[in-house]
Symmetry: C2
Subunit: 336 residues, 2 copies
């Protein structure tokens, strides 16, 4: 299993990707990682960080990719003009069979565009999308789409449900994932025009569709997959991150007001850390691109080494469990 990792994608340069790759290959004997970026720079930094450990050199490669796509670049432009960018080179490796998957913490739109350009769509899929794990009171839930498709038709949401279900079944080992449709009321008939039509499609599909779920149910964990268009999904994700951050900051402000609370905080700190770990996206290993004819994972620009390592694991799991083959089969079964 060989995973290509964009070493220039994150906000902080190649150090964290190198550390993430080292953690992955140290931990799992069956993994190789190819770092994507300027060869000289990467080889120098790998030598600095890992020394000349022969176990490392055998399973950590470098593929030269001199160009980098920045976060605010237009995906379409980037794919057209930067043929030698890390992500283009990465998906080339997958196309040529030299790698099994690409992981990038760079420009997610450009990563999706590069994947589609180099690998194409899975047969029958109209719109590839991005799914992500959200922490809940129980198991994490997969939400799709979280930003690739802002204007969707019911058919697209049906396909998101099929793709995310395959992923949930194989990665989370859930026999028959419960699928919910994000809406503004649980009753059938509640929601906007897109949701109402999608409800009918999902009901008729034969999937384990449990109906509409409301925003406040997302974090309860009573459903395994939630489908929505990419506009709503992206706002749900970002608003959650923003609220979590703001709430921590507000709580800290309150705690810092009295000595008593400060002392209390020292005693409680470990619980706080466990809590953070539980809600931390980093633990969940990035957001799989689904619907492309290959495997790709995008990560936050701020991903640390643990997040990148976990994304490598998820990519490897997706390849090993043949998620794409399952999507194609399920699509035939439920949406024909």
């Amino acid at each position: 299993m060989r995973i290509a990792l964009d070493a220039m994608g994150g906000d902080l340069g190649p150090e964290l990707p190198i550390r993430g790759a080292l953690a992955a290959i140290t931990d799992r004997d069956d993994l190789e990682v190819v770092l994507l970026g300027p060869r000289d720079l990467l080889e120098r930094q790998i030598a600095e960080i890992a020394g000349s450990d022969s176990r490392v050199s055998r399973r950590l490669g470098v593929e030269h990719a001199p160009e980098t796509v920045s976060m605010d670049e237009s995906p379409v432009e980037a794919v057209r003009k930067k043929k030698n960018s890390t992500i283009m080179v990465g998906f080339d490796l997958v196309r040529n069979g030299a790698a099994d998957a690409v992981v990038s913490a760079g420009n997610s739109g450009a990563t999706m565009a590069a994947a589609i350009r180099k690998l194409g769509r899975l047969p029958g899929i109209s719109r590839p999308g991005i799914t992500s794990f959200f922490p809940t009171l129980k198991k994490p839930v997969m939400i799709m789409d979280i930003g690739a498709n802002v204007d969707c038709r019911p058919k697209h949401l049906l396909q998101f449900a099929i793709m995310a279900s395959s992923c949930s079944r194989l990665l989370c080992h859930i026999d028959s994932p419960r699928v919910g449709l994000l809406s503004i009321g649980e009753e059938t008939g509640k929601g906007n025009a897109l949701v109402k039509e999608t409800h009918a499609l999902l009901s008729a599909s034969g999937m384990n569709f449990i109906g509409n779920v409301e925003g406040r149910d997302v974090y309860r964990g009573d459903v395994d997959v939630i489908v929505c268009d990419g506009f709503v999904g992206n706002i749900s994700l970002k608003i959650s991150e923003g609220l979590a951050e703001a709430a921590m900051q507000m709580l800290k402000t309150e705690i810092m007001k009295t000595l008593r609370a400060k002392i209390g905080y020292l005693l409680i700190r470990k619980a706080f850390r466990s809590f953070r770990k539980r809600v931390d996206y980093a633990e969940y290993g990035g957001a799989p691109l689904l619907g492309i004819n290959g495997t790709g994972i995008i990560c936050h620009g701020t991903s640390n080494a643990v997040a990148l390592r976990n994304a490598i694991y998820v990519a490897a799991d997706m390849v090993r469990h043949q998620v794409n083959e399952s999507i194609i089969r399920t699509l035939r079964e439920y949406a024909s």
Copy 2:
């Protein structure tokens, strides 16, 4: 100033509305409250709770409304079939000049439908909507629409911006409220079709439009008004409530794992409470209906007496500051 309060709207019967009304009239000499519900029941409960205090009887009235609309009733059916429901009677009082505003913690769709039926729309407004205060790191932000209009056109979002701006200017005393458009990227051109067209309308309107804001900016407090369609707004609201609840529960679970953390919690408890108060919707006094030819506020079904009291204050402020007159003026100025 006379505010009609639905005594049967909340999940918990008339006790909390009665306590909320008493708190409001005790606190503010210029307020009268009319409780809406079955006369016998209300008079008995008022006597139990308030005794025969003459200050109370002078400024706390009862208007007989034998019917109640339940939470899951269809708004259209409720308005058609229950002519003597609390909300229908309430907006009748406003129409006849016997009350200045209605506050209800009942079925929000039915409250909106009753308001439109009894009072009509403000001239020039196509779609009345619901706005709500969200807590942020700085001042609360008003978001509109949070659920009344699930399928919107750009013109509707422009009108939401105008209505919420008037409200923000008069209720929060902000000279020129900064208006943001909820989207999935800050740059112009990011978003779905609705957002892109609305961006152009808002840019040309002459309002203090600062451009797109992302989900993660909502809680930063760098904007005074955020506009979105009611589907996205409702999901944003509910997902925030759900996350806040789930996060508190997860944190508590972690704290209860060790004695050390439990002791820490005792020391920190006050800070936790201040934090909760800061993020508690109850402090913000409900969600104004905007665009109706009158004044109405809807509250959570779980509203306590403080929340209902605060909603009464907001209703009184809206009438006193002539929010509707300002909306009509601003609409002429910005959207003609």
